[in-house]
């Protein structure tokens, strides 16, 4: 994503002025002083807080967006993109139920380091996300479908975005032949699977992105029903058989994992690395009924939040795995697991590589050995 220059970030286009939103007075949404001289010196006066200047009106969607879009804003107010409740609830699981936001130092740290990933209406439909510096994406034109590169993967970039677009091809340390996701190659953008309804929510304050709501959660079977396919021996055995595998086990490629992220600007103190690990499904549900899934190591560590200087610790760090349920976005029909070239039987490529693919205690972050072994006990296959 090419960054916007300082002028481009705030330059409005004629298309915007001709649009419906362009008919609204600037001050109706942004406040400020509209009667200042066009000089550098007057810039501060035009954008002064005392003139009630509002840089990001949609942060208050109930005020600025809801008069015309209340059907969406009322739902979005409780969506995970807006509330970041998914993150906060995951924190609670490891902190013995303590709310991160109840500690002033932790809350300040969260707002500084993590809240930039909170999304407002504008960060998907007008500007680039503030986590990458913001700036008007299309000269202030409001667009219904967010840009995959400049909106969606501006936040979901280092794993999903890179995998989906095949950006690890040729990268040192990655296997040869890594490809972009087949859906990307066919031209599908994020919104093909992840609809506006999923993004905006239904008004229910869900606590996790992996919710059991088939109306929201895209399923491979939505487009690729396999239950009726008895001609494919892989599907017959591993989808309709006694032990079910998640689709990604056969159809994903190697993906990025990270160890040990620390707040306060320190970042990843462990390392990020390509890997491909199959674990037990530790969160089976109606929609996620597979017995085995792919798991990705997330960059959490027992001391991740220490630099905020708060009083809440991850006292129950092992209450959730660090190798987490994963749905890598790098799908291909033929992968190292399914490619039978040069093999003597159809499952050889996978079944002869159990040591490589199956998650075992040897795969944990050795810097936090005891905690990691305990946290991932429900996921280990061997």
């Amino acid at each position: 994503m090419a960054p916007l220059g300082p002028a481009e970030r705030v330059l409005i286009s004629q298309d915007f002025l001709n649009s419906a939103h362009g008919q609204i007075k600037c001050v109706d949404c942004h406040g400020g002083n509209p009667n200042t001289p066009l000089t550098k010196e007057a810039k501060a006066d035009a954008h002064a807080a005392t003139a009630n200047f509002v840089a990001y009106p949609s942060e208050k969607a109930d005020v600025y967006c809801s008069p015309c879009h209340s059907d969406i804003t009322t739902r979005f107010a409780s969506s995970l993109h807006y509330t970041q409740r998914g993150y906060l609830e995951r924190f609670k699981i490891r902190s013995g139920g303590q709310d991160l936001m109840s500690d002033a130092k932790m809350a300040a740290g969260f707002n500084q380091d993590c809240a930039k990933c909170h999304a407002s209406c504008g960060q998907c439909h007008v500007i680039r996300p503030t986590s990458v510096g913001g700036g008007l994406e299309r000269g202030h034109v409001f667009y219904q479908t967010p840009s995959m590169v400049n909106n969606c993967t501006a936040c979901h970039g280092s794993r999903i975005g890179e995998e989906y677009r095949g950006l690890h091809a040729g990268e040192e340390g990655w296997p040869e032949g890594i490809k972009a996701d087949v859906h990307y190659n066919k031209g599908y953008q994020c919104n093909f699977c992840h609809t506006g309804d999923e993004m905006h929510g239904d008004g229910t304050p869900y606590s996790y992105r992996y919710i059991d709501n088939p109306s929201f959660v895209p399923q491979c079977e939505d487009c690729h029903p396999v239950e009726s396919d008895t001609s494919n021996i892989y599907h017959k055995t591993h989808v309709m058989g006694d032990e079910k595998l998640a689709c990604q086990i056969c159809h994903s490629q190697t993906y990025k994992n990270c160890n040990s992220c620390h707040v306060g600007g320190v970042g990843i103190t462990g390392h990020s690395y390509p890997d491909f690990k199959i674990g037990k499904n530790y969160m089976k549900s109606a929609l996620r009924s597979a017995d085995y899934i792919l798991v990705r190591h997330i960059p959490i560590a027992p001391d991740t939040y220490e630099n905020w200087g708060g009083s809440i610790t991850l006292m129950d760090f092992a209450a959730a795995p660090t190798w987490k349920y994963a749905t890598p976005h790098n799908i291909q029909r033929w992968t190292p697991q399914t490619d039978t070239t040069g093999t003597t039987w159809c499952g050889q490529a996978c079944h002869d590589n159990h040591d490589k693919y199956l998650l075992t205690p040897a795969d944990v972050d050795s810097n936090y050995l005891d905690a990691e072994l305990k946290a991932n006990a429900p996921v280990f296959v061997q």
Binding site: A2, Q23, C26, L38, A46, K116, S131
Partner: protein, 69 residues
Amino acid sequence: MKNKILVVIWTFLLLGLMACQEKKSDISQKQGLYEVANQSSCVACHTDKALLTEVAEPLENTGGDTGEG
């Protein structure tokens, strides 16, 4: 006669009140939205790339060009 005068006065008062009453309208009419935007200094500046290039300042920390998710 007195009653007729009172009826006429009340009728005029009622008509006057009805004329002055704010119409229930959608938000766009109520708050002056969808009027042609005034050519304020906001528009004058933010459509002038040369001027913006002169006055806009680069961000100190853009946070990179891709997110961590």
